[in-house]
Amino acid sequence: MTTTSPTTGTRQPVRDDSDVVRVRQAVRRLAQQARLSLVDQTKLVTAASELARNTLVHGGGGEAEVELVTSGLRTGVRAVFSDQGPGIADLDLALTDGWTSGGGLGLGLSGSRRLVEHFAIDTTPGVGTRVEIAAWAR
């Protein structure tokens, strides 16, 4: 399984647009450190951007945890976005391409899943949502 080195991660609040930018920068920095390819870096950063914005817009703010992880010989980056917002009532619907609740393109959540190697979502209506993503250097 994965082990985490404690010195190479950050936990930051997601309260406004500038926080989304900060999360994105943190993910990019760690992705470069983990030596992800340029394409994988961009994909991971884009997914992080989507999810951080979801945390902000749909979750009413929350926090993001970004860290370097190692599994065997592979290095990767894991990002966890959590909020105590309303949660997602119908997860299947929310993961459908083109379905949107907020006037967006409806590709944020479903698209993010395609951008990263590992995608896990845990949501309870009325309690909150937690999305975990990870990408590994090839």
Binding site: R24, T42, K43, E50, R53, L105, L107, G111
Partner: protein
């Protein structure tokens, strides 16, 4: 303050170190409840305290003295770290002010009962002033960031009838609005019929950025202009595909040069043949 007096202060602080530091730690843990663990605070305070005692012993009397070089360094580190962690100015300054709580325990009971409430109040006044000052500074920085946003979105004329917007950095709603307005105005002012939006400098194209780009293109088209999005780098192209964003019939090019050549070629043809 003569050197002898400093040495005396250093002795007082050393003799009562335990009591002073305990009161200091208690006071600052109350203020920073939940933000800093007691262990972290204790380490931090022990550094500051030791440097203070040492500085006094070496004859320092004012913070600017060479004897306090180390103390100043530690304070700068602590404040910098707190700023980055999002502590408020008050929480940051409390690291030092709370030391006075420790010193109150050294004065005799009579003075303590009468004067300490007043001294605490004065500290609070100082902290309040400091906090307001910092808020004002923050407001100035935000204002400048907004000004920078406008500066960083120039619309340039590349050729007669062709304008371009080189986008650099993050594209959020506020900035898209600025870009769109500027682009549409420039199209009218210069009578241009080609607009090129170059995204070479945009680090990541997520759904929000894409949506903003699409809106800008549609708006430019409504004004009768041909619009091309250029500067699509390989990694961005792959990300856009994986995300599932469709640019539909909007013309995209890998580089600004390609987009310019296209626009020039179309300008040579009669308008009726031009299709976007």
């Amino acid at each position: 303050m003569p050197t002898a007096r400093s040495a005396q202060l250093s002795t007082i602080l050393t003799d009562h170190a335990e009591a002073v530091r305990a009161a200091w730690l208690d006071a600052s843990s109350v203020e920073l409840r939940g933000r800093s663990t007691r262990g972290e605070l204790e380490r931090e305070q022990s550094d500051i305290y030791d440097a203070l005692v040492e500085g006094l012993r070496d004859g320092g009397s004012e913070l600017g003295d060479a004897a306090f070089d180390q103390l100043r360094g530690i304070l700068a580190d602590v404040s910098g770290a707190r700023a980055r962690l999002g502590f408020t100015p008050r929480e940051t300054a409390m690291a030092v002010f709370a030391l006075k709580e420790g010193l109150y325990s050294l004065v005799d009971d009579d003075v303590r009962a009468h004067l300490t409430p007043l001294m605490r109040l004065v500290d609070d006044l100082g902290l309040y002033t400091f906090e307001n000052y910092a808020d004002a500074r923050e407001a100035i920085i935000t204002e400048q960031a907004e000004q920078l946003m406008e500066l960083s979105t120039p619309v340039v004329k590349l050729w007669e009838g062709i304008v371009a917007v080189p986008l650099v950095g993050t594209l959020d709603s506020a900035r898209t609005q600025v870009v769109m307005e500027k682009l549409l105005n420039t199209l009218v002012e210069t009578g241009s019929e080609h607009a090129i939006i170059d995204i070479t400098g945009v680090p990541a194209v997520d759904t929000q950025v894409a949506q903003h780009l699409l809106k800008t293109v549609v708006a430019a088209r409504l004004m009768g202009a041909q619009c091309t999005i250029s500067g699509i780098r390989p990694q961005i192209a792959q990300t856009i595909v994986a995300l599932g964003i469709e640019f539909g019939d909007i013309r995209t090019r890998a580089s600004l040069a390609d987009a310019l050549v296209d626009a020039l070629r179309e300008k040579k043809r009669p308008t009726s043949e031009v299709r976007g």
